[in-house]
Subunit: 300 residues, 2 copies
Amino acid sequence: MATNHLLADFMHFCQQRVTHALNKVLPDADTSPSRLHAAMRYATLNGGKRIRPILVYASGEAAEVTNENLDAAACAVELIHAYSLVHDDLPAMDDDDLRRNQPTCHKAYDEATAILVGDALQTLALQVLCTGNHLDVPAETRLNMLETLTRAAGSRGMVGGQAMDLAAVGQTLNLTELENLHIHKTGALIRASVKLGTLLNPQLEKTRRQALDHYAKCIGLAFQIQDDILDIEGSTQTLGKTQGKDRQQNKPTYPSLLGLNGAKEKAEELRQAAQDSLTQFDSKADPLRWIADYITLRSY
Amino acid sequence: MATNHLLADFMHFCQQRVTHALNKVLPDADTSPSRLHAAMRYATLNGGKRIRPILVYASGEAAEVTNENLDAAACAVELIHAYSLVHDDLPAMDDDDLRRNQPTCHKAYDEATAILVGDALQTLALQVLCTGNHLDVPAETRLNMLETLTRAAGSRGMVGGQAMDLAAVGQTLNLTELENLHIHKTGALIRASVKLGTLLNPQLEKTRRQALDHYAKCIGLAFQIQDDILDIEGSTQTLGKTQGKDRQQNKPTYPSLLGLNGAKEKAEELRQAAQDSLTQFDSKADPLRWIADYITLRSY
């Protein structure tokens, strides 16, 4: 329980920090074109969990990077995530009306605006890494971060995973295929979040770098399995999005392949593997440890 | 007439060169997810005019940059342009069925795929500048290029212009407002194309850099005015897209504000201003000179 309290404090600190930073990098709602900028702020500053920025700060702490140097990366991953949600919710995609207990961007504004909001949030994510407040960071490191994020976000990463997800509706996937889908759809950006945190310390030992990458792969998959479990067990109100949606759309899920208990066991195995990968780190990796527990124990 | 022949050769050379480069940076159509990758290739390798890459090569030639160092920038601006067309053609945006005499991406594939194609093409554009074959280019220069392109593409550039365009349907704009719209919607990326070509020579004198930027602003606007003129005078077959679309949608255009002859005079003034800005350059700027003439004389 003590751990949970520390995690709650850490998450709250990161959420405040990234929200403040996002507020600064997003154009003001009265900057022309104001409807677009208002909608970009609506889609981003809406109280999301900020898991990806939290991972940036947590892995940065394990890698002994200052928070000041992590803000741009934290914004960048959240902006990529926010853009993907706006496009994912569109009628031609998942057709969702509710996100984080509020109307989705195309419902609050309109479809055309939502398409442009996603487009502009993606551009902004990458622009932030070019121009971000990285006073101590050499250009090579920033390029490395940009390359990492574009690989994770693109057609062989997150967007590729969304395409696989579309193709999977109504299909029977085996466990390997389902895992491949999620490694792309949600895993790639989670893994990039952890990697961005560590790239800012070019002196970090290779074994530590590899250990953190393994950690990220484990929690990325665990996160998705828990999402699938919550799609069955959670309520729409707690989730802040329409519950049972995956089953309605006949999408393959871990519970559908492994049963609910099998899915829970798999999530627990991954949680343990994530913890095991952190043994060479001291207490600076504690936030990462708390997050691994949180991901499989969360109820939303 | 001699000039036209040289321009045709130059354009053909650049078109071949950028198509070859795009072919290499786009994932193969049999790389998973294959439908997405096939659609990305469909939307990009479809025989567009490649004006923006041609401007990269032409400004690079004026700035004495080798073609090898220009390929990544040429790909990047074309990928941004291709993504913007795919999203612009969607039913929620301009709802166009025809592009370059072929079914638009969402018609040939489906809407969800077209949304993801646009998303992934944007990511790829920026990834190419991170990883492109810039052996002689310092990281600072590449970051500079990435910053230039993200500024031009984002909510205060191209996407902002598209949002202004949506807001302008059925509205009465004055000339300043219409110009502001086009400076963003098409001008920003054309200006960035010329700038990217010059950024690769950090030794280029400031007066030359400014002259080329002025050139780019003039031809960017001239290009749009000519597009408006062609929307009235061109045929659907020659344009490769639905003709008269702007008038159908009651969008403000230069001919609607200035009359057809007024619009033609304005385009001619801008052509002359673009030529005047090149006086300090020798024959290495000839391709830029030919392009300025071409833009206002083209019939598609």
